[in-house]
Symmetry: C2
Subunit: 350 residues, 2 copies
């Protein structure tokens, strides 16, 4: 028999093929498996928000060969009428003997599927590659559990932790390939968030300059109304959410949000506006405010092997009495990009 973890890995790989078109729905993959013949009968994944769930696609592709078989799904089958009917009904109706699930559905409305299947006499195994499935759906989990967008902070420093020389120069610390990698990261997030300091200094476009990629929504943090409206980030290339407290009228493509100092409230409002995932690219001030407010989920930190000695820090104003109280990144992944490094780590794991 093929191990369930190997099959579940295939479900996860399949799920990724949706490439974000599933959002704000989770990534889900499913496989119909014949345990006697030790072979995969069919597979499917959730391709697009509003369209068929992974289980429905896998079962359709099985062409009726489901009775007494096993179905593996990377997320607990749904039990409710949403945009589509409950998958539990279809699984029961299809005569499956066993259902293997990576993780339970954190969405209260849709959950309970495993229980329904068990009550219908189907053997249910939970928790196969649960960690991997939760990583796959980190954005969905954050969204469902906290009603806030998933927030990834991108930083880039020298070996001695500087984001710029004392005179402010920062072009370029990282190499060309590392900067291309930043473009790729941007394309994976629904929105890019930056703050007035960076925008006034660099007048960036915050777009994605890759073929066939649409630029993300821009979220501009400017609580003191400093950025003139003729700056690049306010152009009409993509939706803009401007966080300021100005009473001036704004162009149509710019939505306004006020800020009263409460980041938790701000991110909840952004989620209400449909923002599921955010990549933050800003300077020391805003980075530090978000870290202090405990709003960062993940960090992608680039390091260039330079030494500035003195210069600007990427974060400041935190102060711990004990090393164990400081921020500790988890699940570290490292990628060498020519002479640069990319360190990926989680501040929170969902």
């Amino acid at each position: 028999m093929m191990k369930y973890s190997k099959l579940m890995q295939k479900c996860i790989n399949l799920a990724k093929k949706a490439n974000g078109k599933n959002m704000p729905n989770p990534f889900v993959g499913a496989i119909v498996y014949d345990e006697e013949k030790k072979e995969i009968i069919s597979s499917g994944y959730h391709k697009k928000y509003g369209e068929a769930h992974a289980e429905v696609n896998a079962i359709k592709n099985a062409n009726g060969n489901t009775i007494g078989k096993t179905i593996l799904v990377s997320l607990e089958p749904c039990s409710h009428y949403g945009k589509t009917p409950p998958c539990t009904d279809l699984i029961i109706k299809s005569g499956f003997k066993k259902c293997i699930i990576a993780m339970l559905d954190p969405n209260k409305k849709a959950s309970g599927g495993a229980e329904i299947l068990k009550n219908a006499g189907i053997e249910v195994v939970e928790g196969i590659l649960e960690k991997e499935a939760r990583e796959l759906n980190k954005v969905f989990l954050k969204n469902i559990l906290f009603k806030k967008p998933y927030v990834m902070l991108k930083t880039a420093t020298t070996l001695d932790g500087k984001i710029a020389l004392l005179n402010g120069k920062s072009k370029w610390i990282t190499n060309e390939k590392a900067r291309l990698k930043v473009q790729k990261l941007r394309s994976k997030y629904q929105a890019i968030m930056s703050a007035s300091g960076t925008i006034l200094a660099d007048n960036p476009k915050l777009n994605v300059r890759l073929k066939n990629k649409t630029s993300p929504i821009r979220i501009i943090f400017d609580p003191n109304n400093k950025i003139p409206l003729n700056y690049n980030v306010f152009n009409n290339d993509a939706r803009v959410i401007l966080i300021n407290n100005s009473k001036l009228e704004l162009p149509k493509h710019i939505e306004q949000l006020n800020f009263d100092g409460n980041f938790d409230k701000l991110f909840k409002e952004l989620f209400m506006m449909g923002i599921c995932s955010i990549m933050v690219e800003a300077g020391c001030g805003f980075n530090s405010e978000l870290i202090k407010a405990d709003e960062i989920d993940e960090i992608n930190h680039f390091i260039a092997p330079k030494i500035f000695g003195d210069g600007l820090n990427f974060v400041s104003g935190l102060n711990y009495n004990e090393i164990n109280d400081s921020i500790q990144l988890k699940n570290i992944k490292v990628e060498q990009i020519e002479d640069n490094l990319l360190i990926n780590g989680k501040i929170k794991i969902y």
Copy 2:
């Protein structure tokens, strides 16, 4: 035919087996090769200072089968009477047709061997894996070319470049395996150098706590005579060189050097005292002085995925107007040690 670069790599690997016993001589490996039969006849390396050179060992192991053959050596064969007679004589006498050399000898006394072989009608090919051979003998090259020890700086910081919390706490930033790696690095250098700030703060032993490894010589930089003689670094476990300006009498195992602010002169004096290679483990002040004085050849920089926000820097007091003027490490190598990283880079390449 086996490629010369493959054979030369074998010479380099052989050379490494000396494991430092060759010091202050270079690491050298040699192979006697039969180009017609496409096979290695014999090999040898310079095992120990004062003993036979690599070529002598390889030729001895060939048992007379050298006429018309090729000899590969990772360093130009010597042409002078040192502790042993010139290798060029033996190569000519042995009837070799060809001699393949990775790098020329930077030591004026011993160099000129390639020319002598050519004049004797032997075909000489130079520069095969030269970069690798120079890396292998970086300490020897620095010693011969500058009459100074090779200096490697070891640093360890958080992701935001801090070596300690603001309150000075630094135990421990890196994980256990990374700290074991530091012990291994120490065992590869002839001397450990540290300065009063670190020693007064931590009272370290600066020894190697690994089986079958002798602790390195300790070089203590204390120009203002601050460290009391009962500190751990002054114990009798290893030779101590104390750089201070005190007129007090010192115990026998402690040698004294005075310091007048000139690091170039200091390192030349250390070399005269037989110090070929130094690993520096100190704080921000001394690190920065050595970097400013341009005395660091190589850096091993550990990174722990923590964020302190505020804290002590590993270097400060440098200030550049342009990014291109800042220190740029070359030949970057990265090693992941559980959730820690080790970044190795060269400031100077010899």
